[in-house]
């Protein structure tokens, strides 16, 4: 037999589910089983049939999520045919012409069943919110380093704009859906308690919800496509012998040695374009005999100087070799640098910002910070400094 599978409405919209199954039967597809998101249908003679859903919530019928045999027997004695059950929902069918009575002749009784369903979902919005906050504040550092964690997010926003957008939107969507479900079940309960029976064949409504949910899903899809395209366009290549971007090579800083490996790492260049800017991740290692030198650069070319300032703050909050204020500031014309422990430097100029970790001393008295900054500034002017 050829079965058909189709997505069914969410669990909490009971009337919509009942109408959905009746409509399918009209089209010649009879419900066989209900899964998490999909329902299974078998071909049948098109006809009208009533479908009704009973809720079995733990604590309500005192038998977990299984429909008690006794209850099922009463419903079947009344002319209802048990079709399928999944989770809290159990579906019955009454064929055309059957005089099976409605489940609830007193709507306030159904309110008790719906209230149990609401109880199951009452705090469901807390989970996505907690997960989101956990990810926001526990990215790498413990909770009390909130500034560092937020700075990592800020950097991520520029390095992987679409991916961060996708991630945030997924949580927003989950949160929205949970809150909407709670609101909807509250509303259904209130109406039933007031004696208004459940609408078993609701007309197409929920326009605001459809617009909100559709917009969020469209944005999620868009971000997914952009993330994929960003991943495909990100190229990690061998570092060229001549710089082709706003970064420095060790040869320009006076190191006349061949490229080599260090602790399993090789010289590499990764360039990423995101919606808010471009990012170069550069690692270079040179060596001869037993001596070597290395430089690691994170370079950002952003859409505006304001963004670059924020990025410099984020880079300063996430330094590897010192706390944010544990540095000395170095000022040159059109360029500011913060040096950490003689080895790490954050640089800001116009719309560009960078973090550089360099094996050579950058100590202001004895180090080579000025030649490095001068060379960097000149390179930036070649590559889009604004």
């Amino acid at each position: 037999m050829k079965y058909r599978y189709q997505f069914h409405p969410y669990d909490y919209v009971l009337g919509e589910n009942e109408k959905f199954y009746s409509d399918m039967e009209q089209k010649g597809w009879r419900l066989v089983n209900r899964g998490m998101s999909l329902s299974k249908f078998a071909p049948a003679e098109p006809g009208s049939a009533r479908y009704r859903i009973e809720i079995v919530a733990p604590g309500y019928m005192e038998a977990g999520c299984t429909l008690p045999e006794e209850q099922r027997a009463v419903y079947e004695d009344c002319g209802w045919e048990y079709v399928a059950g999944k989770g809290l929902l159990h579906i019955f069918r009454a064929p055309e012409g059957s005089d099976a009575p409605e489940f609830y002749t007193d709507p306030s009784e159904q309110a008790s069943a719906v209230a149990e369903l609401r109880k199951q979902y009452m705090w469901s919005w807390v989970t996505p919110l907690l997960l989101f906050l956990w990810n926001l504040f526990f990215v790498r550092f413990p909770l009390y380093h909130m500034r560092q964690n937020l700075s990592l997010w800020y950097r991520g926003l520029f390095e992987q704009t679409a991916a961060v957008g996708f991630y945030v939107l997924i949580f927003v969507w989950l949160l929205y859906m949970s809150l909407r479900r709670t609101w909807y079940l509250n509303r259904t309960c209130r109406r039933l308690k007031r004696g208004i029976p459940l609408d078993h064949s609701p007309q197409d409504r929920h326009l605001v919800h459809k617009i909100a949910s559709g917009t969020l899903l469209t944005l999620i899809g868009l971000c997914a496509v952009l993330t994929a395209s960003q991943l495909l366009s990100t190229k990690s290549v061998e570092l060229p012998l001549e710089a082709d971007g706003p970064y420095l090579l060790l040869s320009e800083l006076g190191w006349d040695m061949d490229r080599t490996e260090l602790l399993g790492k090789e010289s590499s260049l990764t360039r990423t374009s995101s919606l808010l800017g471009e990012y170069w991740d550069v690692m270079e290692i040179v060596g001869k005999n037993m001596s070597n030198a290395w430089i690691y650069q994170d370079i950002y070319r952003l859409r505006s100087p304001k963004m670059a300032q924020n990025m410099a703050s984020a880079l300063r909050n996430t330094t590897t070799f010192g706390n944010v204020d544990d540095c000395y500031q170095y000022e040159m014309d059109y360029l500011t640098a913060w040096v950490y422990n003689d080895i790490e430097i954050v640089v800001l100029s116009g719309n560009m910002a960078a973090k550089i970790i360099y094996s050579d001393s950058m100590w202001k008295e004895t180090g080579n910070i000025e030649p490095l900054l001068t060379a960097l500034y000149e390179r930036w002017t070649e590559y889009g400094l604004a």
Binding site: E62, E70, A73, V74, P101, Y104, T105, D106, E109, A113
Partner: protein, 103 residues
């Protein structure tokens, strides 16, 4: 139940039907008969009320016949039913004024 409030129509008729012990579907038939066809109780309504009254001790499970369970009213249930009956009777008596006014 510490203090008994007014019963719903479903509660009243279920207790009334259980003056003669029976199972779910039998109760529905009996309720239809007692109300002279006026009240056709849905199985969901019946089952929800039965479940609550069982917890309250107004009814008690007396036996099982296959998938069907038989219930009977308890003394507490009878007292509650009588209290409700008296309340309704008082209301009926008070409402007589309507007949006098229409005369």
């Amino acid at each position: 139940m510490a203090e008994q409030g007014p019963m719903t129509e479903a509660m009243y008729y279920i207790l009334l039907s259980l003056l003669r012990p029976g199972h779910g579907y039998g109760m529905m038939q009996r309720i239809k008969e007692l109300s002279h066809g006026r009240l056709i109780m849905g199985p969901g309504t019946l089952y929800g009320v039965l479940s609550r009254m069982n917890k309250e001790g107004w009814i008690v499970l007396t036996g099982e016949d296959g998938r069907r369970k038989n219930y009977a009213i308890t003394e507490t249930g009878k007292n509650a039913l009588l209290t409700e009956y008296r309340r309704l009777k008082c209301m009926m008596a008070d409402g007589k004024i309507l007949e006098e006014e229409s005369l």
